[in-house]
């Protein structure tokens, strides 16, 4: 079943895809614990500590594209993050 953190991950990748194209998915694949099941329909699975995987996903983009990409991730997931308990919110999205 899709969790909020799964939804957040997909939302980040899709928003990055709008800006950098399919490279967004290529970079997501490099994140340990993030498994892409169906790229076309945006189905992924987080295998492991979801909070850490999400932080690593944000960092993957930030490493290439700087702080601007951090802002994008935060902005696009605002509405989903507010439904998370405080201790489950990844640091990179606070």
């Amino acid at each position: 079943m899709e969790t909020i953190l799964d939804k957040i991950s997909v939302r980040i990748i899709k928003e990055q895809e709008l800006i950098i194209g399919s490279l967004a998915w290529d970079e997501a694949r490099k994140v340990t614990g993030l498994k892409i099941i169906d790229q076309e329909n945006g189905v992924i699975e987080l295998q492991g500590d979801s909070k850490t995987i999400l932080n690593n996903l944000v960092a993957q983009y930030s490493h290439l594209f700087g702080r601007a990409s951090n802002e994008v991730c935060r902005e696009v997931t605002k509405d989903l993050v507010k439904d998370l308990p405080a201790d489950q919110i990844p640091e990179s999205l606070r």
């Binding site: 709008l18 800006i19 950098i20 290439l64 594209f65 700087g66 601007a68 990409s69």
Partner: protein, 281 residues
Amino acid sequence: MTEDQSNQISSDEFKKITEDLYKKNLELVSLNKEVARLNNELSNANGQLKSLDKLKTEFLSLASHQLRSPLTSIIGYTSMLLDGSFGFIDEKQKEAIDRVFQSSRHLAKVVEDLLNVSKIEQGGLQYVMANFDFEKAAEDLVKDLSLTAEKKGLKMTFENDNKAPYMVNGDMEKIRQVILNFIDNSIKYTKEGNIKILLEKNENKIKLSIIDTGMGMSPEAREKLFQKFSRGENGKVNTGGSGLGLYLAKKIIEEGHNGKVGADSDGVGLGSTFWMELESA
């Protein structure tokens, strides 16, 4: 500088370029999203406007039809009362009934105009096209209206440029309505002086001009003249019109007959010329 240092600089520069490109792309994406949102809003607003317009036209048509029958009845019976069909009526009664009769006729004209507007807007106004003598149609109308003009102390004349025949292919009844509307307007808006109806022919065009010494109009008023519900100089002159006559005239002549209509004036108080131009048959 070592080879490593040189590579590090190069890598930093590359990262900067990549980040800059990312930011530019981000801007573009934001703009695209805004454009999409605005387009969506526009499309929704457009849809709503179309629905409202359709409703309005349907309502106009329904209301006009519902009003027509009772009006016909009022006009018919008051006319019969006036001509003595129901027996003698004294002067006071005659005056009162005549007021009812005139008001009903005016109302009937307004309803007819509204109906025609709704037909035009629904694309349903039919034209019965045939060749007819335009000069005769205009002259007959001038004769019909000359008494009305005389009662106001106006001199009304009809002239042509001696290039008969003046044959036109069109819906005679509707074109007559337009000529009637132009002459009627001239009489309404002219307090004193004269009205000249001039018929001219140039190559394959026939032009009818109604030239009066009436109240004229400003350039601003002239611009709005042929629009729906336009009512004279700032709408201040109460001439009892519906404001649809000129709008209909334009639709009938320009859309229905490929002709042209127009109005000229040297200014307020300096008279007007209303004209219509059609292709000769």
